[in-house]
């Protein structure tokens, strides 16, 4: 009775915002994270944990020690590169969900160079791996771009499907022909020669890939903001009709952007094998290419913001591992990530619309 009175008397209404104030667009991602943590807290208490304690463990694990911080950076490197990759494609309204597969193909191609030339000196094998990693990801990104550019085949599906192909391809190698005979039957290749391994910072696992990732952010920013090519990308992303009218070759740009986007993800894969695992193995990525989508959106496709967000999410992953060692499933972190994306997307609507409670009139 009371309830129906409320429903009849008050209603919710969504109104379009005329102009989005700049501070709201900063507030929304922040609020999204806070709300997601709140939802996570409810979930944690329902499963019989003390949310404050768990978050404390997570935070300390990720940011509370030099080791934690360095591990957060280590995880941020692939997130930053794949995040930039998908952001670049999103800018042109290309839904590249395939960063994960492009990451694997980059890792595979770089490993192929390292394993094929075990005696090559650093100055040959390093650039070789870098190029191969880029090319592997780039070609994997180009593959779905061709039907998209020429026939309009939806790239969301094709890029996603190719992820499974890439992951299974790497699996088939490490379980099959590339398996290390001395590896006690583990699905791993032999370790790379020391010439093929990226140098690290002090005692940490932070490898030289961090510079590559930061350079990538700068380059993506320069491309989008200051180059003729980036201008074309922005015009196409806003209006394909206007782009054609301006004589911009849309087909060529779809191919090029997917090539670069895939290449960046491929580089991330290269960094991971050359900097962290030092060999190709099963599940080299805990889903970096998917988390990258959240990172790119949370960073509003802005390279500088993506740097910050990927560090945050790197910490999230590390916090997850710490929680795991404290006896909680790592899936908890996935739940939190999902909640954050959910709130970010909901927040997107709030930046463009406002919801108000209105009193219903009964006079008509």
């Amino acid at each position: 009775m009371m309830n129906s009175w409320l429903v009849n008397r008050f209603g919710l209404r969504i109104e379009k915002q005329i102009r989005v104030s700049p501070w709201i667009s900063l507030l929304i991602p922040f609020t999204s994270i806070v709300l997601a943590l709140l939802v996570g807290a409810i979930f944690l208490s329902l499963t019989g944990n003390d949310p404050w304690k768990v978050y404390g463990v997570m935070f300390k694990g990720a940011f509370g020690s030099v080791f934690g911080l360095s591990e957060s950076v280590v995880n941020a490197i692939p997130l930053l590169m794949t995040g930039l990759a998908v952001a670049l494609a999103f800018r042109m309204l290309l839904w590249n969900i395939g960063a994960e597969g492009q990451f694997y193909m980059g890792a595979f191609a770089a490993s192929w160079v390292a394993l094929s030339f075990p005696h090559a000196p650093t100055y040959l094998v390093m650039p070789g791996m870098l190029l191969a990693g880029f090319a592997g990801g780039a070609l994997w990104g180009l593959l779905p771009a061709i039907p998209r550019a020429l026939l309009g085949v939806n790239e969301t599906l094709t890029t996603l499907m190719l992820n499974y192909v890439a992951i299974l391809w790497v699996d088939s190698l490490v379980y099959g022909p590339w398996r290390d005979p001395q590896g006690y039957n583990f699905p791993l290749t032999a370790q790379f020669s020391s010439a093929a391994i990226l140098p690290t910072l002090g005692n940490t696992r932070i490898h030289a890939g961090v510079f590559l990732a930061l350079a990538a952010a700068v380059i993506v920013h320069i491309i989008l903001k200051h180059t003729v090519w980036g201008y074309e990308i922005r015009v196409i992303g806003e209006s394909q009709k206007a782009a054609k009218y301006a004589g911009i070759n849309v087909v060529k740009n779809i191919l090029l952007v997917m090539l670069l986007s895939g290449g960046l993800s491929g580089l991330a894969g290269y960094c991971e094998v050359a900097g962290i695992t030092h060999r190709l193995q099963e599940s080299i990525s805990p889903g970096y290419g998917y988390t990258a989508i959240i990172v790119a959106w949370l960073g509003k496709l802005n390279p500088w913001a993506i740097i910050v967000v990927s560090f945050l999410f790197g910490g999230f992953l590390v916090g997850g591992y710490t929680m795991q060692s404290a006896g909680l499933p790592a899936a908890t972190v996935s739940i939190l990530q999902g909640a954050i994306l959910f709130f970010v997307l909901a927040g997107e609507i709030l930046t463009r619309y406002r919801i108000c409670v209105v009193e219903r009139r009964n006079d008509r």
Binding site: H226, E238, A246
Partner: protein, 509 residues
């Protein structure tokens, strides 16, 4: 006169950098057709968006039937009997007419129980207003005029007795316009009030009872139609007498700039849109293309700007064969164009003015510097065009979709003219513009022609073509029915050719 239904007092509305309405008073009586007249950007749409609940005023108050109201949404406005028919219809295309009318009203459940009964009720309801409808027809099958009638019925059915129509005739044929006006008059006679947003003087004179003129966001005056004439209204709108004078036209016709040799072009639906069409346009000449929309104008404009491939024939611009070359080659050859779809094709809505002014010449130095854009040069170009072409804009870094229609067109023309084109293709360049902006566009076209540019002007308005063109070609079903010199063309003769009648003496191109 009779009862005041709507009373808007001292309405003020500000947007960033612009005051759209300032202390506007506006009253509507029961049973009248009230025209709201003004140039683009005069604040007509803003004022009506406030009345229909889309915007909230920053100052002033609204009284409806004497009661002070606070309209916070279109739904609340409708609850007070105010409904707006937008230029873009809000109908669900796959649904039937009856379903569209009932959608969103209460008692939906009942409808599904009594579909038949409900459909009959709607038909009877429509008949009260002299409108015949087929309640089971799907909306996508209807013509634009019919859709508009359904929109109006929808509002009437929801109990609207103040109907706001935003430029309702822009999408209609002359025949449909007459029917619409009859319907509106009948509704007014039944005690509803109609507010007509428009800038077409002759329609105002034809149908309105009273007229309110807005200029720069202020109410310049509310008058009875019987007390004014078109000249007086024009003066109120622009505060000066408008003269479409083309006396300063130089008629130095130069060499051929564009030559079409028997081109065949296929339209979007795979049907031939242009058949073996040949034309020539010379330097310093304005060639008008007359014809009812949909007879191949769009395909012609797209073909000669390189946006649509030709299936046969040749396109020669300034001696170069550009047949089936990519669009940028046409741009490089000096072809500029004002497309039909200004915001979305001609301009990129979400990019700012800086990015929009370089859309055609970003490939060339000085705007290009190696692989980079020279933002400084682009910025200078933007400021130069804004001041030279008198584009009213509060901030160059705002997305251009914030500009009013007249300013958008000025910006588009400014950019295209700044390229110093050899050939200029203008598709309906004054459609939707008010008198002031129209005059500015005409002046720019004439200056451009005097400077030696060949201009191809597409228009539905024969008076406009006769005033501006040197020659007029009539397009009908993808073919040129004849080309006549504007000096000796008769409107009747052109009109006959537009519907497919061949005229003896009209020379074929």
């Amino acid at each position: 006169m009779s009862e005041v239904l709507v009373d808007m007092r001292s309405i003020t509305k500000r947007f960033p950098g612009i005051t759209a309405n300032y202390e506007v008073n506006f009253q509507v009586y029961r049973g009248e057709i009230h025209a709201l007249l003004g140039e683009n950007g005069a604040g007509k749409s803003t004022l009506m968006s406030i009345l229909s609940g889309f915007y909230r005023p920053d100052g002033g108050e609204i009284r409806i039937r004497g009661e002070k109201v606070n309209l916070r949404s279109p739904r609340e406005a409708l609850e007070h009997g105010i409904g707006m028919v937008h230029q873009h219809f809000r109908l669900v295309e796959p649904f039937s007419v009856a379903e569209n009318i009932v959608l969103g009203t209460t008692g939906r459940l009942q409808f599904y129980l009594n579909r038949k009964e409900f459909a009959d009720r709607i038909v009877r309801f429509a008949q009260n207003y002299g409108i015949t409808i087929d309640p089971w027809a799907k909306v996508w099958q209807l013509s634009v005029g019919e859709k508009q009638r359904i929109e109006i019925l929808k509002l009437l059915y929801r109990g609207a007795d103040v109907l706001i129509l935003d430029e309702p005739t822009a999408v209609l044929t002359p025949q449909n316009v007459r029917e619409l006006f009859q319907t509106l008059r009948q509704m007014a006679d039944n005690g509803r009030s109609i507010i007509l947003i428009t800038h077409k003087l002759q329609e105002v004179m034809e149908v309105a009872d009273r007229i309110t003129v807005l200029r720069e966001g202020r109410n310049v005056g509310t008058v009875f139609k019987k007390d004014v004439d078109e000249r007086e209204l024009t003066r109120m709108m622009v505060e000066r007498d408008v003269l479409f004078s083309t006396t300063n036209r130089s008629h130095d016709i130069g060499p051929t700039v564009l030559r079409l040799e028997g081109i065949n072009v296929v339209g979007d639906r795979g049907i031939p849109a242009l058949k073996n069409l040949s034309l020539e346009v010379h330097a310093g000449e304005i060639l008008g293309i007359a014809g009812i929309a949909g007879n191949g104008q769009r395909e012609l404009a797209e073909a000669i700007t390189g946006l649509r491939p030709v299936a046969g024939g040749r396109i020669i611009v300034g001696g170069q064969d550009l047949t089936n070359q990519p669009a940028y080659r046409f741009i490089e050859a000096g072809v500029s164009s004002v497309p039909e779809d200004r915001l979305g094709t001609g301009l990129v809505p979400n990019l700012d003015l800086y990015d929009n002014v370089i859309l055609k010449d970003y490939r060339k130095p000085p705007i290009r510097r190696g692989p980079f854009l020279n933002h400084r040069v682009a910025g200078e170009k933007a400021s130069r065009l804004v001041s030279k072409f008198n584009i009213q804009v509060s901030d160059l870094s705002y997305p251009v979709r914030m500009l009013s229609g007249g300013n958008l067109q000025r910006l588009l023309l400014a950019r295209e003219i700044s390229l110093q084109p050899k050939l200029f293709v203008a598709s309906y360049p004054v459609r939707g513009l008010d008198i002031g902006a129209t005059e500015a566009v005409y002046r720019l076209l004439i200056e451009l022609s005097n400077a030696g540019t060949a201009i191809l002007l597409m228009s539905e308005d024969l008076d406009e073509l006769l005033t501006l063109s040197d020659r007029i070609a009539v397009l009908f079903r993808g073919e040129i029915m004849g080309v006549v010199s504007a000096g000796d063309a008769e409107i009747e003769e052109l009109g006959l050719m537009m519907v497919g009648g061949l005229v003896t003496g009209g020379s074929r191109a």
